[in-house]
């Protein structure tokens, strides 16, 4: 084949390339976003409209009724519970994680890499296995059936990730600024507060969001560590309460799913940039 091509051949190739790229982009991204679209669209349809063939890609009879049906006080309670547990564990895990990460990053000691590897491995420790002993511990401490059990459990499973992520983030920051601050007469704690903290915000954000999302998703601790229905978190509450009462009303179910997704969606949309920065610093290490 000749290696030289005419200008029109080049143009044709470029157009075909572009066409292929755009078709692939639309197909892949469309496929990925379609479930979300379907979730939202279904939640605005009256029940009878979702059982039609072929399916309606746009609601013919737009309705809010499915959302109004969610005004169940139990749901509000589950929401509040999830919020309490997720915020507490995100804060606790990020706080303890950041302190520990700072020590790992800025103190010299042997086996530092082994320690980091341990935290990485700890993310893989089977949670049900950990829960067996946690259950006994919480039982002894009288913490079963309280928020504390859920918060401690999710903080513990979130902590290795916080430590790992924030350590990698701090490692990327040159130590000079902190040394300058020490020479400027700041105590180690003041260095931490005045110099380090402002510089590692993205790392902290990434850690907090990670742990928040994992806790928001947590289901088996919610099913086992608490037994009172008024202490259940969303996943456990939905499974035990609403799915038990489910009778095929998918449009109401989708409205529920939208409501449960919305808080994390909004939170994440607002913090995505910082999370991305914190995460890539950690992951690209």
């Amino acid at each position: 084949m000749s290696r030289t091509r005419t200008a029109s051949q080049n143009d044709a190739r470029a157009i075909i390339n572009k066409l292929a790229i755009y078709t692939l982009t639309v197909a892949l991204f469309g496929m990925l976003l379609l479930p979300i679209y379907w979730l939202v669209v279904t939640s605005f349809k009256p029940l009878e409209d979702i059982f039609v063939v072929p399916p309606q890609f746009w609601p013919k009879n737009f309705t809010f009724k499915n959302y109004l049906a969610q005004s169940d006080p139990r749901l509000v309670q589950f929401f509040v519970n999830s919020l309490i547990v997720s915020v507490s564990s995100a804060v606790a895990s990020t706080f303890a994680g950041a302190l520990c990460a700072y020590a790992i990053s800025r103190f010299q000691f042997r086996n530092k890499n082994a320690l980091l590897l341990f935290f990485l491995a700890a993310m893989a420790f089977p949670v049900p296995l950990l829960m067996i002993t946690m259950y006994g511990t919480f039982l002894k401490l009288g913490l079963l059936d309280t928020y504390a059990a859920l918060i401690l459990g999710t903080t513990a499973t979130g902590l290795p990730l916080s430590v790992w992520l924030i350590t990698n983030f701090i490692n990327q920051i040159p130590v000079d600024m902190e040394e300058a601050a020490l020479l400027d007469g700041a105590s180690p704690f003041k260095v931490l507060i005045h110099v380090v903290l402002p510089m590692i915000r993205p790392g902290l954000a990434a850690s907090a969001i990670f742990v928040f999302i994992t806790s928001w998703n947590e289901i088996i601790m919610g099913l086992t560590f608490v037994s009172s229905p008024e202490l259940r978190t969303l996943p456990a509450g939905i499974t035990l309460t609403f799915l038990g009462e489910f009778e095929g009303d998918w449009s109401e179910m989708m409205a529920l799913a939208v409501l449960v997704t919305l808080p994390v969606f909004v939170l994440f949309a607002l913090t995505q940039k910082a999370v991305l920065k914190g995460m890539t610093a950690g992951a690209l290490k």
């Binding site: 755009y22 892949l28 991204f29 990925l32 976003l33 479930p35 979730l39 979702i50 059982f51 063939v53 072929p54 302190l99 520990c100 700072y102 020590a103 800025r106 491995a121 700890a122 993310m123 893989a124 089977p126 296995l129 950990l130 829960m131 067996i132 002993t133 259950y135 511990t137 401690l152 903080t155 902590l159 290795p160 430590v163 902190e178 020490l182 180690p188 998703n217 289901i219 088996i220 086992t224 969303l234 996943p235 939905i238 499974t239 799915l243 998918w250 989708m254 529920l256 799913a257 449960v260 997704t261 994390v264 969606f265 939170l267 994440f268 991305l276 995460m279 890539t280 992951a283 690209l284």
Partner: protein
């Protein structure tokens, strides 16, 4: 900068909260878990623990459901990870090299999927894969892939693939974002040099881009697959491990042993085996998958 000798109090203040939490709620439970696997522990039984040697292990290693769980877990995690990394990397390539406008918006939009709660994915998947009115069946019949509606959730292989679809969908965004960041860190000049050397796009991809991003992707993939091993909302709520244990995964199996049968000993054994299995995979992956880092 700091010295443990000189700044000992500071060091102690920094590490003690984490050590306390990790020590009491992670290290002790793991060690205790391994210990319990050699006993007959159960909260239902009163009285002292009895040491039973390898009895739990021999029991589990003869249990078909345990083997099924190990197989299902590997099957689901392996296929989901492979699909997610391939599709995620492809999408990152499209965003980075393909489309000119809207890449940032698309990325942010897709990345949002990564935070959809598992319980919501479970509910949504139940609706999408509904036998009579699910969107998947409608689309499949419309395209002509199938003639009659599939009972996916009640089919041994189908149910696994429903879960695979959920895992893959949830983790593509994460891997895409990491891959995109890795691609952005590949020096433009290196690629330009390769272009001048006469390398076409696919040669550049194979010889330059992939070797430069593979370690990052591998670590991200490892992190993600480890989470797959833990994740059990979907098998627990959507399929309850069925039909006939087709979606029984290790996490669900262990959880049910512990908190439905209250057999802590057997559950600890399952958990320990699961841990050993995971460590083995991670070790193999790091040993043979990671290539040496070259200086930047």
């Amino acid at each position: 900068m700091y010295q443990i000798k000189r700044d000992f109090l500071f060091f102690l203040a920094l590490v003690s909260p984490a050590i306390l939490i990790v020590g009491v709620l992670i290290i002790y439970p793991v060690i205790n878990g391994v210990y319990l696997s050699f006993t007959d522990a159960s909260p239902l039984r009163r009285g002292a623990l009895n040491f039973v040697g390898l009895e739990n292990y021999t029991f589990l290693l003869e249990d078909n459901v345990f083997y099924a769980s190990a197989f299902n877990t590997s099957y689901i995690v392996f296929i989901s990870s492979a699909l997610a990394i391939i599709i995620g990397f492809m999408m990152a390539l499209l965003l980075h090299f393909g489309i000119k406008r809207g890449a940032t918006v698309l990325r942010s939009l897709v990345f949002q999927i990564w935070v959809v709660p598992w319980i919501c994915i479970t509910l949504l998947w139940g609706w999408l894969f509904d036998t009579d009115y699910g969107l998947v069946n409608s689309l499949f019949t419309w395209v002509g892939l199938t003639e009659t509606n599939m009972d996916l959730l009640f089919d041994q292989t189908g149910a696994k693939w429903v879960i695979i679809a959920g895992f893959t969908w949830r983790s593509i965004p994460f891997l895409m974002v990491i891959a995109l960041a890795a691609l952005q860190s590949v020096s433009k000049e290196v690629l330009e040099a390769a272009t001048l050397d006469g390398a076409r796009f696919f040669s550049r991809l194979w010889h330059i881009i992939i070797p430069m991003v593979r370690n990052v992707l591998l670590v991200a993939l490892l992190l993600d697959s480890v989470r797959f091993f833990q994740e059990m909302t979907m098998p627990l709520v959507l399929t309850q491990g069925g039909p006939s244990n087709a979606t029984m995964v290790l996490s669900l199996f262990t959880y049910k042993l512990a908190f439905e049968n209250w057999d802590f000993a057997l559950a600890s054994t399952a958990g320990t085996l699961w841990l050993v299995f995971l460590m083995l995979i991670a070790w193999l992956l790091l040993k043979f998958g990671m290539k040496k880092e070259y200086g930047k």
